[in-house]
């Protein structure tokens, strides 16, 4: 996008430089002139001009104009405090309060309410209205999480626009007309959607309030603590509302480079788990016996020492500093090279170096300006929810063209220009096909290639078109990293600033963990190290006895990693397991020492966003008494093992990290600030090691694509699927996915429990017919001796020959069926009563 021309306007006698086409309201605000408004918020899209609060006088125009919808012109002279404007402002406030109950003393919004503030600032101070106000039943459940008080509503349209134009769930509507208008849903159904909590943030009155916060605190009882949510790789900026050292609420904290001011419901309502009964509030030994810290550290050190170098560590939910300290502990204190931070296989050091090159990486805000967006092997809604909104925004506002290539239908399919489905295990093959199709070969990926070409092939007079490829770490698990890099060169992503790859990893801080050195073949800063075992081999080595000790930091392999039975065996077989965990889980039950972790509201540290942005997680709430800072525990454990780290505080931990990672060098706390800093934008960005020359495909032997490709076409004409004969046998290729609501976060937070998904086997119409199944049937899905039960869900958009199960659900976890490679499953109907 070309930079808008600068214009000068005069607002209340003050000269303001603005960009042409900017709305007057925004320009005035940037020039420190506040114009009151309710309905307008640039992040909600185009202005609607509904509230009429922002009327101002523009010289040369006889009628007052809404500043929210008046683009600035050079030389425009505006008055916001004339008699005429004041009269209009007084009138609108008086009108708004005609039907507002003014129950501020019992309203949760009281004290932080834009209607209160604007009434005080711009209202007449009293009302002449003496008749009856309108009445509604109140408050009622808009959803299990949000209460609606329709009497307080001033019909500003914000929540409805959010639902229609931001999350695009289209559930919220205005019903009825005139002053009988109210916000509701079709047929009074509950508003259940993954981002719906945002409406409580944007409501300018107390009409939409969180059940989790009703009557919990007043603005003068609380403190707002800015931090980062680390429940998924989106790493949204949040503000914790803290009362008496406890988190009572989570609000979005607008950072256009990360979250655009939105927050998903998991991040918003996932805070009661900080005080869940399952929370581990102090060190424990095997059998659940509480231990003192010295005792726990001594036991852990003794056990690890006894393992004599045959120790491995797997890191998951950790800050950069914690990750750095764990790998240091393993490599330097225990002398073992076995560290990983992936649930399964992953990219090699060489591949990661290629991916980390600054000119190949896209940042989140590049999505806004992309001409084409390609989503590969991930469903952002489930894996990095806030990116789902970002992509929708790019399509809606900027006309970006979306192409989706995944195993399973995604939430973004509806807005996609082209969709391709490949069978589970076929990612590498498909990416190669796509790269070939971009080169002109006719194949199954041609529709996708055409879309990308059309979107980027604009006329010569236009600026080069940017392409952002959003890919899931699952591709690396499927050994498709080289194919991805080939595709990136076919798309020429390095050529243009703003084009690039953006990964959606499995772990929230995956990038930080890798850059801090939690990889079997790379140390801090992706440096060369003695090669250790990756996760899958660690598991096998524990089973075989080759390894005897295991450190788990913020991971629960039994629930979250592929091949549950093997992990159970491996952890049982291990002589000594130290588990750092926030909550009790299947793995902590088998651990010899359990050490408590701080939550993301308690800890102090940095994390690295998948786009390279270092962000600071700040201590916001108090820790339970016997929980210590994680750096402190790691430092003591290291010392007990005879290795003094010299780390005695968060700043020293951060200093050690930046000293060890060359491209983090010189970054300070102040650089990171409240908005984070992409290390690529920092002076030391060149310190990322260069990969070896040559295209990856020339240097790595490519495995032949798996021949057992499933296929089938779906009725959607935009959808291209892999060609090939339908699977003949009874078995189907199994794909698995991580549902947004599957996992302990949903279960540990009582308000979210109702969202906990049941296991469903998603299959195509054709396979359902062939197997005599229909939606609602119970089936037994088995693979090589492991089996789970699931409820059938027949889906039109599933490709024939494939089926899908959710990972990490409480009952029937699909991880039980996985073994690291492509899996085919047998499906047998379970007759009722059998």
């Amino acid at each position: 996008m070309s930079k808008a021309r600068e214009v000068t306007i005069v607002v209340d006698g003050r000269e303001i430089v603005a960009s042409e086409g900017q709305m007057l309201h925004d320009a005035a605000r940037e020039g420190d002139v506040e114009i009151p408004v309710f309905c307008y918020d640039p992040k909600l899209g185009d202005p609607v001009g509904a509230c009429r609060m922002c009327l101002v006088e523009v010289e040369g125009i006889p009628k007052l104009q809404t500043s929210c919808s008046t683009p600035v012109r050079d030389g425009m002279v505006v008055h916001t405090r004339t008699e005429q404007v004041k009269e209009a402002q007084n009138a609108v406030v008086e009108f708004l309060l005609v039907n507002h109950p003014l129950d501020c003393p019992v309203c949760d919004k009281g004290g932080e309410c834009p209607l209160q503030d604007i009434s005080y600032g711009w209202g007449p101070g009293k009302s002449r209205f003496t008749d009856d106000k309108r009445h509604f039943q109140k408050p009622i459940e808009l959803s299990p999480l949000v209460a609606i008080d329709r009497e307080r509503c001033i019909l500003c349209y914000r929540c409805v626009r959010f639902s229609q134009e931001i999350s695009e769930d289209a559930q919220l509507q205005l019903l009825e007309r005139g002053d009988r208008t109210f916000v509701g849903t079709f047929d009074d159904r509950p508003y259940v959607a993954p981002f719906h909590g945002n409406i409580t943030d944007i409501c300018p009155v107390g009409a939409l309030t969180n059940y989790t916060y009703r009557f919990r605190a007043r603005p003068w009882d609380i403190e707002q603590a800015g931090s980062v949510c680390t429940l998924c790789p989106s790493q949204c900026n949040v503000s914790f509302t803290v009362r008496d050292e406890k988190v009572k609420r989570v609000l979005a904290r607008d950072n256009a480079e990360v979250d655009d001011g939105w927050l998903c419901d998991r991040g918003r309502y996932g805070f009661e788990m900080f005080e869940a009964p399952e929370r581990i509030a102090g060190p424990r030994l095997r059998g659940g016996a509480a231990a003192s810290w010295p005792e726990a550290i001594e036991t852990a050190a003794a056990g690890l020492r006894a393992a004599g170098g045959k120790v491995a560590a797997i890191v998951g939910d950790a800050s950069n500093e914690e990750a750095f300290m764990v790998q240091q502990l393993v490599r330097e204190a225990l002398g073992s090279p076995h560290v990983d931070s992936r649930p399964s296989r992953g990219a090699s050091r060489e591949q990661l170096l290629r991916l980390a090159q600054p000119n190949l990486s896209a940042k989140v805000s590049d999505i806004d300006e992309a001409a084409a967006i390609l989503v590969l092997g991930t469903d952002p809604l489930h894996s990095s929810p806030i990116l789902d909104l970002r992509i929708r925004k790019a399509i809606r506002r900027n006309g970006a063209k979306l192409a989706v290539a995944t195993e399973r239908p995604t939430a973004l399919d509806g807005g996609a220009e082209a969709i391709a489905r490949y069978a589970p295990g076929e990612a590498t093959h498909f990416l190669s096909e796509l790269a070939a199709a971009l080169g002109g070969t006719e194949n199954v990926a041609t529709p996708l290639a055409d879309t990308l070409r059309e979107a980027t092939g604009g006329g010569a007079d236009t600026e080069p078109a940017k392409v952002v490829v959003i890919w899931g770490e699952r591709l690396a698990r499927d050994d498709a990293t080289d194919a991805l890099l080939d595709l990136a060169s076919a798309l020429n992503l390095t050529a243009l600033d703003g084009s690039g790859l953006l990964e959606i990893p499995d772990f929230a801080n995956a990038r930080g963990l890798r850059e801090a050195g939690c990889l079997p073949d790379a140390g801090p800063g992706l440096s060369e190290v003695t090669i250790g075992k990756p996760t899958e081999e660690i598991r096998a080595a524990l089973e075989s006895g080759e390894l005897t000790g295991l450190i788990l930091f913020g991971v629960d392999p039994i629930r979250d990693f592929p091949d549950t039975p093997a992990w159970e065996t491996a952890i049982t077989a291990a002589d000594f397991v130290v588990s750092f965990s926030m909550h009790e889980n299947a793995t902590t039950a088998k651990a010899d020492v359990v050490l408590p972790l701080e939550t993301h509201a308690e800890k102090d540290g940095t994390v690295t966003h998948p786009d390279g942005r270092l962000q600071r997680v700040r201590p916001s709430a108090g820790r339970p008494d016997a929980v210590r800072p994680n750096w402190h525990v790691l430092s003591e454990l290291s010392a007990a093992l005879g290795h003094e780290t010299g780390i005695d505080s968060q700043p020293t931990a951060f200093a050690a990290l930046t000293a060890a990672v060359p491209f983090y060098a010189g970054i300070t706390d102040a650089d990171i600030g409240g908005r984070g800093l992409r290390w690529q934008d920092h002076a030391e960005a060149t310190a990322v090691p260069s990969p070896e020359a040559g295209a990856p495909s020339e240097r790595f032997a490519r495995e032949e694509p798996n021949a057992a490709g499933a296929s089938g076409t779906t009725p959607d004409r935009r959808v291209a699927s892999e060609e090939g004969a339908p699977a003949s046998g009874p078995s189907l290729a199994l794909g698995t996915y991580r549902d947004l609501w599957a996992g302990p976060i949903t279960e540990l937070n009582p308000p979210l429990k109702f969202l906990s998904p049941q296991q469903r086997l998603e299959i195509s119409l054709a396979d359902a017919d062939r197997l005599g199944l229909q939606s609602g049937d119970t089936v037994r899905v088995s693979q090589n001796g492991s089996a789970i039960e699931a409820t059938v869900s027949v889906k039109e958009r599933i490709a024939e020959g494939t089926c899908f199960l959710a990972e990490a659900v409480a009952d029937g976890n699909a991880n039980a069926l996985l073994n690291g490679g492509p899996v085919r499953v047998e499906i047998a109907k379970v007759e009722a009563g059998a």
Binding site: G49, A50, V92, F95, R177, D179
Partner: protein, 444 residues
Amino acid sequence: MADPRETRVLLAHAEDPALRTLDGYKRLAGGYAPLEKAYREMEQDEVLKELEDSGLRGRGGAGFSMGKKASFLPRGEMAKYLCCNADESEPGAFKDRELMQHNPHQLIEGIAIAALAADAGHAFIFIRGEYAAQADILDAAVAEAYEAGYLGTNILGTHRDLELVVHRGAGAYICGEETALLDALEGKRGNPRLKPPFPAVQGLYGGPTLVNNVETLSNAPHIVRNGAEWFRQFGTEQSPGTKVVSVSGGVRRPGNYEVELGIPTRELIFGLAGGPEPGHEVKAFYPGGSSSPVLTPAELDLPYSFEAMAEAGSMLGSGSIIVADDRVSIPHMALRTARFYHHESCGKCTPCREGTNWTVKMLERVVRGEATPMDLDIISSVQSNIMGHCLCVLGDSMAMPVSAMVSKFRAEFEEVMASAGAPLDVETALAAVQGPAETLGAST
């Protein structure tokens, strides 16, 4: 039968049921000759120029130059639309109903000509759902026009196409507001949009769109047939042409009368519509539908033109006169007017949504005798707080007449309020103010 004081152009031959058919329209009115002329012999710019030169002003209420509006549409290859606003819902207005019922082909031909001028390939007639009979008539006429090649692809063998769809509205006054009409046509809640962008730039489905009233478009064939100069011989300098005026309320012969613009208003009310019942006098009248500020008998001799009505502080609007005779209670008339707009307010913008509601509540207290003189000041103040502050004109449509009634008939309001001892039954009192009289002939 037409009154000799009328000047019938649009309503010519309206009494003959055969006019509704394509054959009848061609035979009686020389129909579709202008369309042939426009499509075969004229360029887009020539048609546009003819319309602009005629000075034809929009007959839907705002009175904006039709040709100028059409000229605002950008040129070039893109999907452009024409919407005929047939959502005639203003209390007192029933002229479009008669035009569509008696002469549907005149409208279709007008649409085809205007579409040529605006270079629109798709046209819609958005007709209010209550006009079911008229919609059926239009459907039949549109089918005939397609059959005859006046609509569809390659009209009359030219390279021009026009698709015309009759769309029935679902019953909301606000959908007569041009941008709400577009939203409703797109299948959305019928709420007005912010302007700018104006429909001419970004209208239906985001494309440039010309929105015109039924009567406005019905004039187009006559202008093309006879030329702009011919059109300008009728009416006044600033209000050229004839106008179908709906006269209703306290008159002996309510109905539609087509007259030259600029004739004395008295001629319309007394001459054509027969004036009030014997023994009664005109107390007040709305000159341009219920949204126009009421005028008093002193203003009866004003010329009936856009400019004269504006000068008198009111407006010609859609050209619908509602007469209140001396039996009508002005406070009740104010309440009835306010209730209509309160009921029809879409609720999108604050002043209209809350202002109409508040005004109704205050006027109810006035007629119940429960108000104080201070309330009259508040009513006036609320009206001025609405005016000029709304998203569309609906709020002003209540505020203008109510405000005029309170200021011109304040004494009567005070009198009604003073009868506090004997509260009036609001419903009974309101029944005295009749709605528009039934004017459709037996032919429906």
